[in-house]
């Protein structure tokens, strides 16, 4: 009985801790702001004469940051054990290799 109560208490504390560390609204605001900036890039690029290469680097950079925010917070990778956090990273090496081959081609 004592064990059960202790477990319940631990679960309750976990829930409270989880509730405190979920910046979901802030992440959504960040994603929205970055998207608004991204949408301006074609117009700004034409007006300011920004090279297409630089535009691509910027837009892919913001996409990587946005995807990382979704994976870390909404997909909870930040709160998962290290091995699960590392699991999606390995295949990204192959993804980068494939895209590199396509770009070089």
């Amino acid at each position: 009985m004592i064990m059960a109560t202790t477990t319940e208490a631990a679960r309750g504390m976990d829930a409270v801790a989880h509730e405190l560390k979920r910046p979901y609204v802030a992440v959504l605001a960040f994603l929205a702001i970055v998207t608004v900036v991204e949408v301006q890039i074609p117009t700004l690029g034409a007006a300011w004469g920004i090279s297409s290469g630089l535009q691509i680097v910027f837009l892919m950079g913001t996409a990587v940051i946005k995807a990382a925010m979704v994976a870390l917070y909404y997909m909870h990778l930040r709160y998962e054990p290290r091995v699960l956090r590392l699991l999606p990273v390995g295949p990204l090496v192959f993804v980068a290799l494939l895209l590199l081959v396509v770009v070089l081609d």
């Binding site: 829930a15 959504l28 929205a32 998207t35 890039i41 117009t43 892919m60 994976a71 699960l84 895209l99």
Partner: protein
């Protein structure tokens, strides 16, 4: 998705846990369907479609009746010891999906490099509606937010919040698909952007192929996610999920965030980047 039922043996009174034939049927469906598509042997495609419906129907029926085939348990062996077996399975599936979309986007980039013409965003010749799709992008991002809130609500046992956020996620996802269908109609009939070369705007043939292939596969994934969300909504109104049984919400949520992540890359690639 039915841990609570499984824990009590389900309404059929079985104390042990069941395996299921339905994932195998769905895999068979994929084999017949994609094999048929690759060889353009349409009876095989038809057989794949029928098997898919039978497989999904059987799987859902099994889950609804509380027969659990993937009861909540943790991996025992290293390196994934202690991690939920279903969550790990979903992550492995997500990785396979990342490879799939990387191949698709890579093919699109190869087409772009070789195309005789590729429209530049921000110019009058560009057929896509950037402001509308930017709004749609925000809708999909917002659906990821509501999905994360739904998972959290299930974890802390807030039933009303769970139903609210699952309903919002379903509505936002359906709105995304609806806007995409609307955009497809405008592009196809008014902008003459078709998946194949046409006589009115023949220069857009390659762009059209790449655009519809990439956004179409993504849209199909979103639509599949909507089916999962509809099921979650139904089960949440029946009180299935709570503090001790939230993994079903969590794994569908992981899939839903995946379609969001894919769109985060597709949107700039198709709508904002020229050549």
């Amino acid at each position: 998705m039915s841990d609570a039922h499984a824990a009590h043996g389900g309404p059929e009174g079985h104390a042990d846990h069941h395996t299921s034939i339905w994932p195998f049927v769905i895999a068979l469906a994929a084999g017949f369907g994609f094999g048929g598509l690759a060889t353009q042997f349409w009876p095989s495609v038809f057989a794949g479609a029928v098997l898919l419906m039978v497989g999904v129907g059987g799987w859902v029926r099994q889950d609804v009746y509380g027969v659990s085939f993937a009861v909540k348990q943790e991996v025992e062996d290293r390196p994934f010891a202690g991690i939920s077996i279903r969550k790990l399975g979903m992550w492995l599936f997500i990785i396979s999906e990342v490879f799939f979309f990387t191949g698709l986007i890579g093919a699109g980039l190869a087409l772009r490099a070789r195309a005789a013409f590729w429209p530049t965003p921000g110019t009058p010749e560009f057929p896509l509606n950037i402001p509308l799709t930017a709004i749609n992008t925000f809708i999909l991002l917002a659906s990821s937010f509501t999905m994360a809130e739904a998972v959290h609500s299930a974890q802390v046992g807030k039933q009303r919040h769970l139903r609210l956020y699952l309903g919002l996620t379903l509505a936002l996802g359906a709105t995304f698909v609806g806007i995409q269908v609307f955009e497809y109609g405008k592009l196809f009939f008014e902008e003459h952007l078709t998946p194949w070369p046409n006589l009115v705007r023949p220069e857009l043939g390659t762009f059209g192929t790449a655009f519809y292939a990439q956004t179409g596969f993504h849209g199909a994934h979103v639509t599949g996610g909507l089916l999962g969300l509809a099921y979650l909504n139904w089960m949440s109104w029946k009180g299935r999920y709570g503090k001790d049984n939230f993994e079903g919400v969590e794994v569908v949520g992981l899939y839903w965030h995946l379609v969001d992540v894919v769109w985060i890359f597709l949107f700039p690639i198709m709508y904002l980047i020229g050549r």
